[in-house]
Symmetry: C2
Subunit: 197 residues, 2 copies
DNA sequence: CACAAATTTAGGTCGGACCTAGTATTCTGG
DNA sequence: CCAGAATACTAGGTCCGACCTAAATTTGTG
């Protein structure tokens, strides 16, 4: 990575971290982009250049988050999409991956307190679904791609509900988080298996 | 209904219609609220009073749309939620209900051309899901409400995919719309039945 | 008819998204 | 190693949606 790229990334993370600190302290809507720029000691326009929308300051993992299920399916062509996603989920759970919702309680509280950020999160789950649809093997019968799209939707829904579960338990300060999520995941994937397995 | 209420509704619909005409002609983002107010011959603030967000000018049926699946389940306590929603869907399909996505091709094109409006539609589907969760019978076992939430998510996803299907076919000017949607619905609900039926 | 209540209006502020022109920094080929 | 190209950042704007307040207008009621 060149010096230019390193500096750019540094500026970006500098801004992102300054923003998250301010957002946690005073709430997402309680902080203006100008204040973020001041705190990060850059011009307002630099913030806008790096982060197209204010919400993007918060969800820096957006791209990884959106692509993850599609990658799971593509990287396990031998298994069914259902099995690839389910197994990928349990593996990521043991790693406490941020893609499943693992985060600090302040972060969770900050996002939940903002309608704008919750809407952005909703959109991220929807984009995930779109990526997964694109990664699914195209069905042979014409017009029957409704089943593929439904499969992607249902799988993404399970991931989303489990994400919410992780956040609920994080927010409640639960000690048994992983155990409880593992059980919830087993139930939710088990429910879906007769339809998609 | 009092004169006051009638006049208010009249003003509201007057604004909504003027807005939709302008949006179809010049695109959602190509029209400002001030222009809508001028076209409807009211003050800008009157538009804002009636429609909290610009998107609300377009989706006037929002409330009916969001509440519909929850109502289907509540009004058929003898059937399973799955059967209530499925049967309700097929009934509404024969009526070409706007709740399923039946609309003019210009309207569909206008909404699809706007990222903002598509995001608002996504949010409407999510709100539907929340209403449906609240309407579902609470499960007895504690912690197993994940299955109820998943059921609501999957049912709402099917409704959403079929909504998209209606829009796809409308946009393509398909003559056989209802027949094709009926087939797609049978497949999607059939896929889900082993999990939720 | 007078007064209360609801609705609309006028004229603002604020902040996010976006634009342009110009400056500063890093990279690359001769 | 230096000049010019490419990229990153800055300064200072415009536009518009969301929101506010105070006042005017219209409608309902005792």
């Amino acid at each position: 990575m060149s010096l230019r790229e390193r500096k750019k990334l540094e500026t970006r993370q500098n801004i992102s971290h300054a923003a998250t600190r301010l957002f946690i302290a005073r709430g997402f809507e309680g902080v203006t982009i100008a204040e973020v720029a001041d705190a990060a000691r850059v011009a307002k326009m630099t913030v806008t250049n790096h982060f197209g929308r204010k919400e993007d300051l918060v969800f820096d993992i957006r791209n990884d988050f959106v692509d993850w299920p599609a990658k799971l399916v593509q990287q396990a062509p031998s298994r069914t999409p259902f099995a690839a996603v389910r197994d990928g989920y349990f593996a990521a759970l043991e790693e406490r991956s941020a893609l499943l919702g693992f985060a600090g309680i302040e972060f969770v509280g900050m996002v939940r307190a903002s309608v704008t950020l919750m809407a952005a999160l909703t959109q991220m789950h929807r984009d995930r679904e779109q990526q997964l649809v694109a990664a699914l093997p195209a069905p042979e019968a014409p017009g029957s791609d409704i089943l593929a799209r439904a499969a992607a939707a249902h799988l993404t829904s399970v991931l989303r509900l489990l994400f919410d579960e992780v956040w609920d338990l994080t927010y409640a300060g639960d000690e048994d988080l992983v155990t409880k999520v593992r059980e919830a995941a087993a139930k939710a994937f088990g429910q879906l298996e007769p339809a998609l397995g």
